[in-house]
Assembly symmetry: C3
């Protein structure tokens, strides 16, 4: 039983509406008049292994964990939530590792560390307070559209884990998939 997803001319909406109504006169949505798959939710906590301080492309590591489930969604959203306050998730260039190195250079330049830094919170080491700030600058969560069972990112986009601490630590990511 396939979901009745409507494809129209480009730029096209992919639309789906679920209803138990035998007749649905809503003109904008494809309906599932009888039995058929409805909305799905899937949620899982994955662990990224320790990465050295810096920005790292982790798209394939994440896809390895979620691909079979992701492939079940025709249309939806994938939410990635890093459960930490001294690392971040961002989407950026997926090709040249220099872009990741330069971004790390930028973060270290913009957020001072060590004796010249004005931080009060120093108990957990000189890299800790800068790590917290960098985490809020880039954020700990991403939402990516799902289309035809895949993350619908642009050609040059990839998912980065930015590790802001000196001591490599395994990082947990709660992945939530929602769609049809």
């Amino acid at each position: 039983m396939q979901s009745s997803v409507l494809f129209s001319s480009k730029p096209a909406w992919v639309r789906a509406q679920y209803s138990t109504s035998p007749v649905d006169t809503n003109p904008m949505a494809a309906t599932v008049p009888g039995p058929g798959p409805g909305p799905k939710w899937a949620q899982k906590t994955i662990t990224l292994p320790p990465h050295r301080r810096g920005c790292h492309l982790v798209t394939s590591q994440i896809l390895k964990e979620i691909r079979p489930d992701l492939s079940e969604f025709k249309c939806g959203l994938a939410h990635l939530f890093l459960q930490h306050t001294s690392a971040s998730l961002t989407i950026n260039e997926n090709y040249d590792s220099d872009v990741r190195d330069d971004t790390e250079t930028f973060l270290n330049k913009i957020v001072p560390e060590g004796r010249s830094a004005p931080w009060k919170h120093t108990l957990e080491g000189p890299d800790d307070m800068p790590a917290h700030i960098k985490s809020s600058m880039f954020g700990c969560a991403l939402t990516v559209p799902i289309t035809d069972g895949k993350l619908n990112m642009g050609t040059w986009q990839g998912i980065w884990l930015c590790e802001h601490r000196d001591a490599p630590t395994a990082r947990k990511v709660v992945v939530t998939l929602n769609g049809i």
Copy 2:
């Protein structure tokens, strides 16, 4: 057939739950005891025309593309995903264009460009590496609540496209609407 959305005294929850159960005793949710519309998904890729380097208010350009479909959602979320790594989407002031100009001034001040910049990734031009950094600072995605068929932003909020490259380029945005 209307969805049974419950409105109560302020600050009110608008609640809806879909069930095929003839009797639903869940006290917190309005139910649809019989036939009725269920959750909807709509997804579309729109193209924003080239904008010069800087911050631009694009709320009306985006609404023009999605308004008819948006109006079908009583309650939900609209997700906008820019498929690029050298531009960004953000929500900020929608009235005075000086705010957009000053934000561009800030971005250029904070992310150095040209000979004084420490970047290794320079092959695509002096504006390219700064553009990648700015893209992660502001982010490439937005999620906005939908209420009564409209984006439920504050009075002074608008959607900005921030173009970080010198050469104006058309930019693709995957829009995903989900709700009831």
Copy 3:
């Protein structure tokens, strides 16, 4: 009638799919073969009381407003949307108030204010334009996974309201809960 949520070995997906089909052979999803609860949406605007300029932990203030409804969701997403352009929401450390103070120090250092600042938009006071920039740096929205009726944040994570204006103002947050 309980939703058929499937728990498997760790790292486990929690999965649910809704269907009116009497037989569902999809091997990856637990199904609700007969009557049962379906997806739920809840949306509410809450008001955070005025906070002085700086970063504030507001997790408990927000939970107080949403906990009863949140507890109804087995799996889902909570979206928080600040309807303002001179404050921000971010997730960061929930224990040491020095982290919040240091983050405010950073923001004030990175975004100049007063006579040395290059801003054109000065009509609303010297703190206004910096406030707009800080709002886009940290963002006005958060999406947090819901698991077993709770926000599934890490041990040290909390929700911060960052007030970037000098004059304390009440701030509105549109909360949207979606899940099963």
